[in-house]
Symmetry: C2
Subunit: 332 residues, 2 copies
Amino acid sequence: MAAQNKQVLLANRPTGWVKESDFRIVETPIGKPADGQVLVKAIYLSLDPYMRGRMNDTKSYAASAEIGGVMTGETVAEVIESKNAAFKAGDVVCAHTGWQQYALSDGKNLRKVDPKLVPLSTYLGVVGMPGVTAWIGLLDIGEPKPGETVVVAAASGAVGGVVGQLAKMKGARAVGVAGGKEKCDFVVKELGFDACVDHRSESFLKDLAAATPKGVDVYFENVGGKILDAMLARANPFARFPFCGMISDYNAVDRYGVKNLISVVGMRIKIQGFIVSDRLDRWPVALKELGEGVASGKIKYRETVTNGLENAPKAFIGLLKGENFGKQVVKL
Amino acid sequence: MAAQNKQVLLANRPTGWVKESDFRIVETPIGKPADGQVLVKAIYLSLDPYMRGRMNDTKSYAASAEIGGVMTGETVAEVIESKNAAFKAGDVVCAHTGWQQYALSDGKNLRKVDPKLVPLSTYLGVVGMPGVTAWIGLLDIGEPKPGETVVVAAASGAVGGVVGQLAKMKGARAVGVAGGKEKCDFVVKELGFDACVDHRSESFLKDLAAATPKGVDVYFENVGGKILDAMLARANPFARFPFCGMISDYNAVDRYGVKNLISVVGMRIKIQGFIVSDRLDRWPVALKELGEGVASGKIKYRETVTNGLENAPKAFIGLLKGENFGKQVVKL
């Protein structure tokens, strides 16, 4: 029997929390590349919070996943067979092939990467889309100056960890927010943040004030909810708040109501939403710096690796609940 | 008996809605100008929503009013006696002399105005701070392009009315939000907006959608609360939201919770708080254009004139409740 292509399809559009039954796992025949095409086999699949939005059928910057279609997602993949002159068997590429083992591509969305420079999985994390998200949001929008205070939530995550380390490199004070002591310890001891505040603690607001004695100049927003309200209340004049996501809202049927927006006027805060794919011109320089940082050991990271595509739905649900630690990938 | 200087003092810091008993009216002797000083007599006093913030004792961009001190505020005033070479008796000036009839000044915060160009009271409205607020917020932050849709709340007010008229001059569609049919009619028929939506109507959200068929590109924020939530839900990609105030929050003990901030990410919205006094370099050009617009009849406005300083507290409370129609001033 020929090998089959395992795929994870979107079975239903979830309301509120995603369930495993919102996905369906199927096996289909592996395609044969036509002229100009390549067949790739995924090695790692990235799981990212933004994918929750793709499961909805609402107006957004990107098309929704189709019901019955393969879930969208980035992979690091190996070229198995090529009928495209730009690629040869054995090439390693970053691809947008979704939650499946094999895929055909015309090569347009493939980006060759160097398998010797950094571990392959990091091309989905610190040296991939999450790292570039941190880089663009912090440097182009946040613009931290030496001595300023930068706060980022989900600080042990793929984006947050890079935000804090870049902030330190710019001479700023880096303060993380994370869930639980283990993550906070990692953020300070391993990633080198100046402080990290546990948002699950009852003394969160007091701890945040202690960790930001000079207020907050940059808040990199990827969580939303009560953490955003706390940052608005701590903002300094002319603070910058790059917004790249709001994971706390993604599964909420009744969202948290943010009450401290009046600070935006008094403190002249700039809030700027951004999507990393709008700024493709910035990717090459960002990826170069991030790759060099990881290769030299200057930029640190952590990953949660789940084995087997069939475990991707469960891992994704865990990611939305904050059960992962660092960048969540699936090894196929 | 010599003439006395009537003053309105801050008696208490209000919690929630301001009451007349939060003010105290007193009479004190009129001062005599020392060398370098001028004595001015106020003709009009401006009442503005921002003054509510000055009554609080919280961290803000400007110092609070002191309990027992004269309420802060702008006036149009006449120079009565001058011992400062830059001014002579009879000069008309804009001043920051507060809620009182007479004041001494060293001349530094006085700005001479032309009493023949436009009606004196407009130097507190469309040709004063509110007009400049509209001008800077819309043109420097909102940056409307021809064919885009600009929405402003409190559209019949001193700021909102100018925002919409400037938007029209830039070739944009101007949509107002106001409270009640009378104000909405004025906004469309007198000020020339393309549409105006009554936020008190039960069909507000439906009416807003009908008035903004191509979505919202610029929302000039001066109200907050449910109107902001509605605009976030109607925002187009790369929308700009200049924030100059949030009158709906000023008296709220339990503020409205804004639930649609997730749109900031998906639509890459820029929210920028600003204070008109941060941008003094822009005032001369703004005041020139606004003055010419009013003088030529191109920029229209409406005022509510209250007679007598002793009625200022009541008029101010009415302003916070939206009972005024257009710019609220007090004739002394």
